[in-house]
């Protein structure tokens, strides 16, 4: 589904990430782990073509999309739930979702996407006319995920979607992600906690200082002990 080879790049002169090789098969769910500042969000920016400077090859659905602009990737089925949600706060929930479907391929109907997302998150349906910025953190995260799903993605990238959420909401969103996987969606989720990665991914890449230092099934990582030890062993 997605393959990145020798991905490198950054914001200014110096590279933030280098030598990143990633591979996701269709239907898989994979985690990207690493401490603050490791470059996880930068990898997602490189994959979605929003990083100012990058090199390397990206294949999506067997097609080389290395030179493709970001908006075409969305239409091709790649969606990102960005770090910090980045919802359009003054807009209503409905308008936020509608914008998520702006690049929806012609084969889909916007109304069907609304139905799908509202079934997944009934809370968004109840609050469709509410201003997005006035919702709770958990609801805003649901909106950010729902908005990304409006473009009918085949691969969903999520950047620390559980950050700052209460355990109950985390459970709720984990259950939703499980349902999405059951529907055949491929997911790449950026996380800092191993136990959450265990709950929503089978394999994990571990990043430190802009490089992937380890790649293993989540269970194997968990058996190996603390993530901190793995990070430390890299130095």
């Amino acid at each position: 589904m997605l393959e990145a080879r020798a991905l490198a790049g950054g914001y200014r002169k110096a590279d933030v990430i280098a030598d990143i090789d990633l591979r996701l098969d269709a239907g898989e769910s994979v985690a990207l782990l690493g401490p603050n500042g490791a470059g996880k969000s930068t990898v997602l920016a490189a994959l979605t073509a929003t990083l100012p400077r990058r090199s390397g090859a990206i294949l999506f659905n067997g097609r080389d999309v290395s030179a493709e602009p970001g908006h075409k990737l969305v239409a091709a089925g790649l969606a990102l739930v960005p770090e910090g949600r980045q919802i359009f706060a003054p807009f209503t929930v409905r308008d936020n979702l509608r914008l998520g479907a702006i690049a929806l391929p012609r084969a889909h109907r916007v109304a069907d996407r609304f139905d799908y997302v509202f079934t997944l998150f009934p809370r968004l349906a109840e609050r469709a006319s509410q201003r997005a910025g006035t919702m709770s953190g958990g609801e805003q995260q649901m909106l950010a995920i729902g908005r990304a799903l409006m473009s009918a993605p085949r691969l969903l990238l999520l950047d620390e979607p559980f950050l700052g959420l209460a355990p109950m909401i985390v459970e709720e969103i984990l259950a939703t992600l499980a349902r999405l996987r059951a529907d055949g969606l491929t997911t790449l989720i950026v996380e800092q906690k191993l136990e959450i990665a265990l709950a929503c991914a089978t394999r994990a890449y571990v990043m430190v200082n802009g490089r992937v230092i380890r790649h293993a099934p989540c269970a194997e990582l968990a058996a190996g002990g603390d993530l901190q030890d793995i990070y430390f062993s890299a130095n």
Partner: protein, 299 residues
Amino acid sequence: MEDFLELLVSATASGCVYGLLALAYLVIIRPTSIINFAVGEWAASGAFVGVAVLSTLVWPALEWPWWSALLIVAAFGALVGYGTELLCVRPLVARGAPELSAILVLLGVLVIFREGNTLLFGASPLPSPAPFGFRRMLIGPFPGVSQQFLIIGATFGVFLSAWLFFERTVWGRAFEAVALNRKAAALMGIDLRMVGALAFAAGGAIAAVAGLLVSPLTSAHFLMGLPLATQGFTALVIGGIGRVEGALLGGLILAFVEQFGARWLPVPSGMTLAFPFVLLIGFLLFRPTGLLRAPETRV
């Protein structure tokens, strides 16, 4: 009373022209954060192109020559805006240059258009025909020149369409989304470059149409651009860049202060030219967000 009503119509018409210029600034600023002072010269170019089309080309086959000129001028303005974005703004944005560099380059564009207008159309004012002539007429109790009523009606139409576009269409929402949060908008699959180009095209079209609309009253001349640019900018500062309606409100307030102030305030007539600047400085100092704020502050 008669005098007052006549002044009211004339101030409203001027305010509409300022409002259109402010709108031309606004549609460009919202998604791109770039202030384009060239809109004043684009308005002048619109007036000149309109006059040229109306005076040199005779179309006996066309029943509505003035209205076809209006369409041609709008298309011309859109093309100018689109081309300017493509040639002068996009290369800067692509290199990650700050907005200020684009604003400076657009000042260069302003000079090019002013000199171009002078070279092509000369330095003496050209009379511009009005579609309904220059008849004085009464609409209800309001006395005025037909062109003034045309300006008011056309401005209302332009603002209504702009408002409907921004508030009621997906693409209007997309423009707003770009204004709120460029990165998130890009993640939706919105093509930021296309939004930038369309914003400049819309700004160019609105400015050129404003120039054509006002030219029968002022005639088309090479110095008309600068006052339009400053008055439009002042109107924008008064109304705020948050909402489309603000541009019209700002234009009307500016024109009312100018015209009623000149009539009734005990200041020497030359001093009235300073009114826009007094308002501009006052608003920048005491209410930099303008009168109408965006529904919520920017992200």
